[in-house]
Symmetry: C2
Subunit: 728 residues, 2 copies
């Protein structure tokens, strides 16, 4: 009896122990709303991109807009130490199954017994993406749940469910909707109240200056009367005053017997607003509901040059305004997600916010769904930037899941591209293909443009890398072979030894002898040139004023990157100061879509044949952030997610600089002067590379000489290294 | 001066004349709401198919639900004699362009100047399909407008629109939404009030009998109190009373301090409803809002056999209940659009309503969109029925536009099928494929089932015909070759001369020796057998009681069709009377999903392992409509749209019969007795074929003898022919 009792006691103790350890695991899990990967992003992209208006008229995109799958099954298997109560929410009409058996109605709570169990929710929602939120002590909806748009769960005449499944399950998509109330479909960017900097009144009308480029809703205070208030927006004062030609406006219908408040319905870009009430309507004042993406500015840059600091600040502000639900092109006009523009935003983002969710969302929204019937944004180059961006993102973020989820859509988009090659295996613009390259007068898009083949080649290389990553060995081989062959063909076709450059295009089967900067500068940072070719290109193209100049910050980005990649930081520094400094000298408070120093006065505001057509706050204007982070502070990942990285500071003539580069796990800080380098990395293993006239020293770090005045220092996580050296 | 005046008068007269002739052309056009073809149908299909509940729990489909394109451009070019005011409506956010120039805002009226002009509307709508309604004197939105989901209208930096278009324009989809108020997204089937046939009260509860199978909403009258009213639906009295196992129910929350009315939220199928108010809730009475599709019953059949007349009437009622937004399977349970079920409804429809819009809608909803990731409804055979239905529909309706619009989706679905053939070019069930065939105990789906290959072969033949129709000569050749090769392979593989039959399947590379009816009966009316083989199959399969019997009206449809095709009308008549008559003898008021005469009592109500799982009103139960129209009245088109047709009356032992068969342009009426045939066709050219013991006569018609007692008479449009003859 005693034995038996002891046994029971032991058993009870054991159970208690187990329960305690189970309890220890039972911190309430962080649950989040989940959906079919890409679907929320595509839907949100539609929401965002259909907010464009031109002088009050709806102005939608001209490519296909996809939609979410309207019926989604979500499930996960759990093994519970003890029964658990879970809370269930869904966006849409839904049912809940426990171990395959449907519960009655649409339950908001469920008790899951101890042991192994599967929870399924199936949700239908035509208007917004099906989404679920499930939260218990150990059970929580998150990206580890599996989802499908076709579960193929048929039953036979006896009621038995099919046991042969051809269902593809993907991991759920998620972001940061971490409470049951934070319904994804209700998402809105936050706003903050801002006051005007200056107001000029003229009777009931007023011209309001918010002091700098900004974005949001206009709120009228103390409005009274009946009639219309016209609100004309302007990125420039001239635009706000040009009631007949300003790009955006809104007419507010007022019917306020007593003084009240009224707000515009769409958020807009402007610095100035011109408020014109009809007779019979009056108002007291105007404020701004500044709308913004709550991303944290982790990247920093300061240096001995005040103008460059200003450039960095305005670039960061430009980037912030254009970082919204997605990385968009510009805040005044399109507010669309353009792949080529976004590609640059991703790169800037890695040196400013390191906000990976915005990168991922933008990639999903751009890609949309199968079948592919058009290039991304209809632009050939923009399909290619998208491929390249996916592997790039992996290199910076180490987010393999994103590549895995996107890979099938990478394959189908690449199939589309490869099917559009001509008999010579090159891509030229077919009906419906926009060969964009850049905004540049007289730029030829005829025949097979070398620039496009280069981007296709890089895209194939990205495909090969991604294929390897997701274990598609056949694909990896295929894409690598295609890239190798294409690269050889590019040089056989376009390289003109006499000109020391890749020529612009091949027309009617023959290479032209026209040289432009595009293919040449990309060939440099794609590392496609031999050292000799590189020097030839530098001289005969990049530093050759005879080759047509680039007038968009968009392509200046790559032009300057190519020069930086060849160590021309001092030259690039001057270029940055003159080009971006030139925009600032014209009173800009954000960077522009295009800047041609030869233009004068209000010519700077015009584009697309319209007097205020140009965007004065364009994401691609912010590239100094990227250039300064990558090529001056000199920080970049060597292996995915900054597991290893290098720091190669280059002052480019500055007396000193200091800054921070964000990484997935923490920041890397760099401070440099010609005598001292100070570096600290919060994670991963870094390599500091520098050159010195004399033997450098570092307390606590072991500097290795690489010969010719080149040195290396391994940077361990969390430690600060101070190197004393003598810059060349 | 006088001359001048005369000239002026002449000019004025001329203007007046021109104006009058323009006026004559200016009857206000019949405008209708239009959309991207297939999109409204897919969306409406989602609405309909997500109304299924099982005991109050949402029960969605298990295949992919597609969605409409959310952003659509609509346009048409007009040449106006004089300016014209048009009215504009859209479902969604929209803009309007006249000759490429956007108008301000979202105008509801537009004045189009005289001359050549293009009107564009571009509409975004995430929740419901973008649709427009445009109406002027000569301008009207209709199926002649062109639509696209990607107009690819980009502009260059100067503002010039791209002139190289790769846009695919399709003709708009439309139905019958012919007024600005008739918004497609608001569409609902009409309802009518119906009274109960009998009510049994028990305290506050009541069991209501509506006299026969019906469908709609239950309305409670004189409801008072606070609490719940449970409404249990039953196709049988037993089901309504079985509160724990009835298939459908609804709980109505009542909170009525004063007597009021309350209606159930989802329309349901039932004959009986069991109303159970909680204590504290009372009600006076119950009525039905009968919900129905307003289709006209054009087909008719009457004969000397009262039971057969009853069968036809109940079949027509069964068909009416299952003809809703789409042709659905059954009204109680799924209410889904199943391709195999719909295929039979199309055929019945051609002999009852000739409602082509419902056929077209159903075909669109079934097919959904690309990419194809599954068979239609996940069922291999159901993909095949869909192909066959498209050409069939063309044969009956002559609606070439539907084939043209569907053809690209036919191609992609066929690609999907062909890619799933195994190394021997045959199709077997791969992961995720449901090989359905029929509900039949122990029916093997293993290996390559002969029935599926036969359907694939017929699908390829349909593809070849459709390809020819849309001028895809390459496709026509390819599909015809594939069909020819496959047919040869089918006979080489499955035909067992010893058994005089096609065997059921090939397993592990070897034909089995198991014989079932499926492939054999299809081979007959596909006309794949030699006359000898046909006789062998008739004897060794169709009339052989050793071959497993069919217990669903679904496959009895084809079994009896095969026998009719061989002239076995007298035998089939007996089978109809015994099988469908058997269902009626059990008190049915509509035809069932399955009927096995060997079952007893409530066994008849069970299916899928559930006591009331069986649908007692299933479309596929209505096949006598088709058999009697096509094989007794003997009417069928010989060329598309009944341009030519034949009438081959076959009394099958009846003393007399008379009936009407609808065609696109009018009805064909047939009356037959062994002594007289009376036929009249409203359009097309018919051929009456009959046999007679003695020389027949016809006033006004010229009878041609074809030898062996066979005669023919050509039927001209609109004339009635009365033939006196002597039946064999």
């Amino acid at each position: 009896m005693i034995k038996f009792c002891l046994k029971r006691v032991a058993a009870v103790l054991l159970l208690l122990l187990l329960a305690t350890s189970a309890q220890a695991q039972q911190r309430p899990q962080k649950a989040t709303w989940i959906w079919y990967p890409g679907d929320y992003e595509i839907w949100l992209g539609n929401q965002m991109q259909n907010r464009r208006t031109e002088r009050g008229t709806f102005f939608p995109v001209f490519w296909r807009m996809d939609s979410h799958y309207v019926l989604i099954d979500f499930h996960k298997d759990f093994d519970l130490a003890q029964p658990e109560e879970v809370e269930l929410r869904a966006e849409g009409q839904y049912n809940v199954k426990l171990d395959g058996k449907p519960l009655t109605g649409a339950p908001t709570h469920l008790t899951v017994p101890a042991g192994k169990h599967r929870i399924n929710l199936k949700v239908y929602n035509q208007a917004t993406p099906p989404a679920v939120f499930v939260r218990g002590n150990t059970i929580a909806s998150d990206a580890s749940w599996l989802v499908t748009y076709e579960d193929k769960e048929w039953i036979d005449a006896s009621g038995k469910t099919s046991d042969q499944s051809g269902t593809t399950w993907l991991q759920a998509g998620a972001w940061n909707f971490d409470s049951p109330e934070a319904r994804p479909s209700a998402f809105k960017l936050p706003t903050e109240v801002r006051r005007a900097a200056q107001v000029e009144r003229n009777g009931q009308s007023m011209l309001v200056d918010f002091g700098r480029e900004t974005f949001g809703y206009i709120k009228l205070h103390g409005v009274k009367g009946k009639g219309q208030v016209a609100v004309y927006f302007g990125e420039s004062k001239e635009e706000a005053q040009a009631t007949e030609t300003c790009e955006t406006l809104e007419y507010l219908a007022v019917n306020q017997p007593q003084k009240g408040e009224q707000t515009t319905t769409l958020s807009k870009a402007f610095r100035y607003v011109n408020i014109r009430p009809e007779a019979g309507v009056s108002l007291d004042s105007v404020s701004l509901l500044y709308e913004y993406a709550p991303v944290a500015e982790r990247g920093k840059f300061r240096c001995s040059d005040a103008q460059l600091n200003k450039i960095w600040d305005v670039a960061a502000y430009t980037m912030h305004l254009n970082t919204r639900e997605f990385f968009i092109d510009g805040i005044k006009r399109d507010r669309w997600v353009w792949s080529g523009d976004a590609y640059q935003s991703y790169l800037m983002n890695y040196y400013l916010y390191f906000d990976t969710p915005t990168v991922n969302r933008t990639q999903w929204a751009l890609r949309g769904k199968d079948p592919v019937t058009s290039h991304i944004n209809t632009i050939m180059d923009y399909s290619f930037y998208w491929f390249i961006s996916v592997y790039d993102a992996y290199q910076y973020t180490g987010d393999k899941a994103q590549v895995q989820q996107l890979y099938p859509r990478m394959q189908s988009l690449m199939d589309y591209c490869l099917n559009r090659r001509n008999k010579d295996g090159l891509m030229e613009g077919l009906a419906g293909d926009w060969v964009f390259i850049d905004w540049a007068d007289g730029l030829s898009k005829k025949g097979e443009v070398s620039f496009e083949q280069l981007l296709l080649c890089r895209s194939l290389e990205s495909m090969a890398l991604c294929a390897k990553l997701v274990d598609d060995q056949t694909g990896a081989q295929k894409y690598q072979q295609l890239a190798t062959d294409l690269k050889a063909k590019i040089f056989a076709t376009y390289w003109n030894p006499g000109k020391g450059a890749l020529v612009h295009s091949r027309v009617a089967g023959r290479p032209t002898d026209h040289v432009t900067r595009y293919a040449n500068m990309f060939a440099i940072f794609f590392d496609y040139l031999s050292p000799e070719q590189e020097q030839q290109v530098k001289k005969s193209v990049l530093l050759n004023p005879q080759v047509p100049k680039i007038t968009t910050p968009y392509m200046r980005f790559y032009e300057l990157e190519a020069l930086c990649a060849m160590g021309e930081q001092p030259y690039v520094l001057k270029e940055m100061k003159s080009y971006w400094g030139g925009i600032l000298d014209l009173g800009a408070t954000s960077f522009w879509e295009e800047y041609d120093p030869t233009k004068k006065g209000t010519e700077h505001l015009a584009m697309y044949g319209r007097p205020f057509g140009k965007s004065l706050c364009h994401a691609w204007g912010a590239s100094p952030i990227y250039l300064l982070g990558k090529y001056y502070l000199g920080v970049k990942p060597l292996t995915p997610g900054y597991a290893t990285y290098e720091v190669v500071p280059n002052l480019g003539g500055l007396q000193w600089m200091e800054g921070t580069v964000p990484t997935p796990q923490g920041d890397i800080t760099v401070a440099a002067s010609p005598k001292q380098l100070k570096v600290k990395g919060a994670s991963g293993t870094g390599t500091l590379r520098f050159s010195s006239k004399s033997k450098p020293s570092c307390k606590g770090g072991k500097i290795a000489s690489k010969g010719n005045g080149q040195y290396e220092l391994t940077l361990e996580k969390g430690r600060e290294y101070v190197v004393t050296y003598q810059a060349l």
